[in-house]
């Protein structure tokens, strides 16, 4: 197992390198950090020359990338062009805020999705199952920014205008003067988390339902049932355990994707996370920040995929990822197939 993890981490290095290089190329093709001042009347040419030299704008792209990379691997993530602060400072706090959002979403979604998925599968074709299915399709088909703005309009603006109550917030992490107040924090987190949960719960509950159904149809379940094992025991001890394996895998993979998706939600709710930092930096062509973000996001995806594989290996005793026992199972995505394991 350890060797496997090490190998996967090694493979991640070129992935991160290429990802940052691609982004570097794109940023240097799009962004002129000086675009704004170049088109202002009365800009001083001396200042432009000064900044060009400072940001190495006249050097070839590859050379600039090498500069950046050299510093980056030594832990010097550079200084933001726009804010003149160390990128590590900017990204550090924002990363914590994003993880707070993503983490809460994942924990809550897992909880809700498991519950909904299991009940849907056990009570297949019940009113609850149909309602859950309907909700899932709704979640799949709703653009998340639209849902977020709808939540703001109904649960914040409308509540305030009609009843003069403020249960939730539109802007930021805390109300000014309430910093550190947990309740206030939760009120600010509620809507962004709800937006993110719309899609995760829709997808994961559906997924859990399907894998449960598969397991419930398996021979050994039928056998157990024939032997007179109580239904609740079958569900808890036999079916759930096996259905959980693919579920955990999917959750791990999707969590990696979530960090990229959080960009939109953070912008709409002015949440001081990585996504907001990234977009602001993008608008300012502040590439040290954009690159650090890319590297982080890529590493996060790779780690989550790796986590999926590791969890899969632990949960499923037949799979020993470290030995080349499962050649077709290099990618966790193919591990998505619900497997039937004898208890």
């Amino acid at each position: 197992m350890r060797g496997f993890v090490a190998r996967r981490l090694l493979v991640a290095i070129p992935v991160v390198l290429v990802a940052t290089f691609v982004v570097f190329l794109l940023v240097s093709a799009t962004g002129d950090p000086l675009a704004d001042i170049r088109t202002q009347p009365a800009t001083d040419p001396q200042t432009i020359r000064l900044l060009e030299a400072q940001y190495h704008l006249n050097d070839p792209v590859v050379e600039r990338y090498v500069y950046w990379l050299g510093d980056f691997v030594q832990g010097d993530w550079g200084t933001s062009f726009a804010t003149d602060r160390p990128v590590t400072d900017m990204v550090g706090e924002a990363a914590w805020n994003s993880f707070l959002l993503v983490g809460t979403t994942v924990v809550l979604s897992v909880f809700v999705a498991l519950l909904v998925g299991i009940v849907s599968a056990v009570r297949q074709r019940s009113a609850f199952d149909y309602a859950a299915t309907g909700f899932s399709y709704f979640g799949f088909s709703m653009p998340d920014f639209f849902f977020a703005l709808l939540l703001q309009l109904v649960l914040v603006v409308w509540l305030r205008e009609q009843f003069d109550v403020q249960l939730f917030y539109v802007q930021g992490k805390y109300t000014i003067g309430e910093e550190g107040n947990l309740v206030n924090l939760l009120q600010h987190m509620a809507l962004p988390v709800a937006t993110l949960m719309l899609t995760t719960v829709a997808a994961w509950s559906r997924y859990q339902r399907d894998s449960m159904l598969d397991v419930l149809r398996a021979d050994y379940i039928r056998t157990a049932r024939a032997k007179g094992v109580p239904r609740s025991r079958i569900i808890r001890h036999h079916a759930l355990r096996n259905a959980l394996i693919p579920f955990v895998t999917v959750v791990a993979i999707d969590t990696g994707v979530l960090l990229g998706g959080v960009v939109v939600v953070e912008r709409i709710f002015s949440w001081p996370g990585l996504g907001l930092v990234f977009f602001t930096a993008l608008e300012r062509s502040d590439y040290p920040v954009v690159l650090a973000w890319t590297a982080l996001a890529t590493v996060f995806v790779v780690l989550c995929n790796l986590g999926a594989d590791v969890v899969y290996g632990i949960l499923d005793p037949r799979i020993r990822v470290g030995r080349r026992a499962a050649p077709a199972r290099k990618s966790s995505r193919e591990a998505g197939a619900p497997e039937v394991v004898a208890p």
């Binding site: 675009a35 170049r38 040419p45 001396q46 200042t47 917030y169 000014i176 300012r284």
Partner: protein, 567 residues
């Protein structure tokens, strides 16, 4: 099993906490505590140093403006009101009138002006500011005007004189506006100006905030929060609000929602349709809009085949549906919006003369057609006019994401079809730098930001300000000559002469006349930049705040922060 129980317990406590919170907040109604005014900022200042390339955005100016006084305050009507100066600076009549006399301006300061730490604000601070601006190692966006000063003499703590090699009429502009605040010599001397005030306006040794205005910057969290508190030692009218906080709201829809929910008390958004209606619908909220110095215009590159014929440009100007654009796109925000008929002065300035009204505001298609007929442009089978193999078919670009501009383009495109001129809309985000600076465009819509005095915009018109053609590659890596902004290649000798003369003319009336004459010349003999309208500002503030007044100049709506109060 234990783990499961833990998860369940965690969930339960989360749910309980949020429910409890809801109950608590329902009582508190979530509005700002007394004395606190929250402002939603669309573009959060990245740094506080308002001289630098990154800090010269309007929001930085509005944030630090109340903390750093200027010689003059820019008033909403575009006039200069002495602030640190005790009266208007005066031109010292030269004794030696033979030859080319040096031009000297004398400014005198209020003796009671002090920094928040008690140190008097003196002429030395002005001198220090001038030296800082002229230091070539400093990242200073504009040195325009300062570079004409040949000697800066501190006469006494309350008086300094600026000597120019030749008469320089717009001297007031040097000490007005939020990008030329006066710097405290006693705390900044010997520091690296590029670093020292990026994240605070403070004494770098003690880290305590320093201010010469009604407020001081108490704290700054980049991209998250700026807090202003009153300066107890302010020498003018003291502020009554106890705290003003700026928070970011980058998404315009969310910005309005935050305002409606009372999470922010003041918003100052970019052009947004339907905004006024929403703000006015909020109980007790106020909406104001004024016509600012940012003016939208339609530019034609005068060296493009077809556009190099001034008759074509005149026909386009004649048919330009400017009134329709204003009615449709600007009146939504501001009832007073008018078609702008001058490229030197704004419609709400005293000096304004409607020189471009020679072109009918609503566009005269018939007149435009006859101009083109007379010039020999004949309509082909495809409905597009052509002459000698040159077709009147052009691209029309702007920056993406600006709804008003995108809609203007479509109104123009439809109108010009009636002339037999085809416009293809081609927008891209690099249009203002790669395309425009590389002369890789044909027509374009964007905005220039004017200052109360038009001299800053000379570089748009002077033939000496035509940048050398910059090939796209070079434009990309920024190694182009950036000495001018005459991107339409406007070249009218009479205009050059009038503008240069105006810069040296001290007499206000004569100078105004010269600039208006230059404007008339541009309208008749250049027709490269057609003025469309002034961009309206949009300011919304909740009924809990009083005394807020918009200021369309660069000083922005925080210009009178000391008059704000909370009810």
């Amino acid at each position: 099993m234990g783990r499961k129980a833990w998860v369940v317990a965690a969930m339960a406590s989360l749910v309980a906490a949020s429910l409890g919170g809801s109950a608590a907040a329902a009582v508190g109604k979530g509005s700002s505590p007394a004395g606190l005014i929250t402002i939603g900022a669309e573009e959060f200042p990245p740094v506080l140093n308002n001289f630098s390339s990154e800090g010269n955005g309007q929001w930085t100016g509005m944030v630090v403006g109340p903390a750093l006084a200027r010689g003059y305050k820019l008033m909403p009507d575009f006039t200069y009101q002495p602030w640190i100066f005790d009266k208007d600076c005066a031109v010292v009549t030269p004794i030696d009138t033979v030859g080319n006399p040096p031009f000297t301006v004398r400014c005198t300061l209020r003796p009671d002006a002090v920094w928040s730490d008690g140190v008097p604000l003196t002429a030395d601070d002005f001198k220090f500011t001038f030296d800082t601006i002229m230091n070539p190692d400093n990242d200073i966006v504009s040195r325009l005007g300062y570079d004409k000063i040949t000697a800066f003499n501190v006469v006494s703590p309350t008086e300094f004189q600026m000597v120019f090699a030749e008469p320089f009429a717009p001297f007031r502009d040097l000490w007005a506006g939020t990008s030329t605040t006066v710097l405290p010599k006693h705390v900044l001397e010997g520091t690296n100006f590029n670093k020292v005030w990026n994240s605070c306006i403070c004494d770098p040794k003690t880290k305590k905030p320093i201010s010469s205005g009604p407020m001081m910057v108490e704290s700054f969290k980049p991209d998250q929060q700026v807090t202003l508190v009153p300066n107890p030692n302010y020498w003018g009218t003291k502020a009554t609000v106890s705290k003003v906080v700026f928070v970011p709201v980058p998404d315009s829809n969310a910005e309005v929602n935050a305002f409606r929910a009372g999470e922010v008390d003041i918003i100052y958004p970019q052009n947004q349709f339907g905004l006024r209606k929403k703000i006015e619908a909020v109980d007790g909220a106020h909406y104001t809009s004024s016509l600012g110095p940012q003016w939208e215009h339609f530019d034609m590159l005068s060296t493009v085949k077809g556009l190099d014929d001034i008759e074509v440009r005149t026909a386009i100007a004649t048919a330009m549906p400017r009134q329709q654009i204003v009615d449709r796109l600007v009146k939504d925000a501001n009832d007073d919006a008018v078609v702008l008929d001058n490229v030197m002065w704004m419609a709400n300035q005293q000096q304004y003369e409607p020189n471009w009204s020679i072109y009918p505001a609503s566009g005269d298609v018939a007149a435009a057609n006859s101009i083109l007929d007379a010039a020999g442009w004949t309509t082909g089978s495809d409905g597009i006019r052509a002459k000698d193999g040159v077709k009147l078919s052009f691209t029309l670009g702007t920056t993406p994401g600006n709804q008003a501009r995108e809609l203007s383009q479509q109104i123009i495109q439809e109108q010009m079809k009636k002339l037999g001129i085809e416009f293809t809309i081609k927008n891209s985000s690099d249009i203002l730098w790669k395309k425009m600076t590389g002369f890789d465009y044909q027509t374009i819509i964007f905005a220039w930001v004017g200052s109360p005095d038009p001299y800053g915009n000379n570089s748009i018109w002077l033939s000496t300000s035509i940048p050398e053609a910059c090939p796209p590659k070079q434009a990309k890596n920024g190694s182009c000559d950036s000495s001018g902004q005459n991107y339409t290649r406007t070249n009218v000798p009479a205009v050059d002469q009038l503008l240069n003369e105006a810069d040296r003319e001290i007499d206000v009336a004569t100078r105004t006349a010269l600039l208006n004459e230059a404007d008339r010349q541009l309208a008749v003999n250049a027709v490269t930049v057609i003025p469309l309208f002034q961009k309206p500002t949009q300011l919304g503030y909740r009924g809990t705040v009083t005394g807020v007044r918009d200021n369309p100049t660069v000083d922005g709506f925080t210009w009178n922060i000391e008059e704000w109060a909370q009810t």
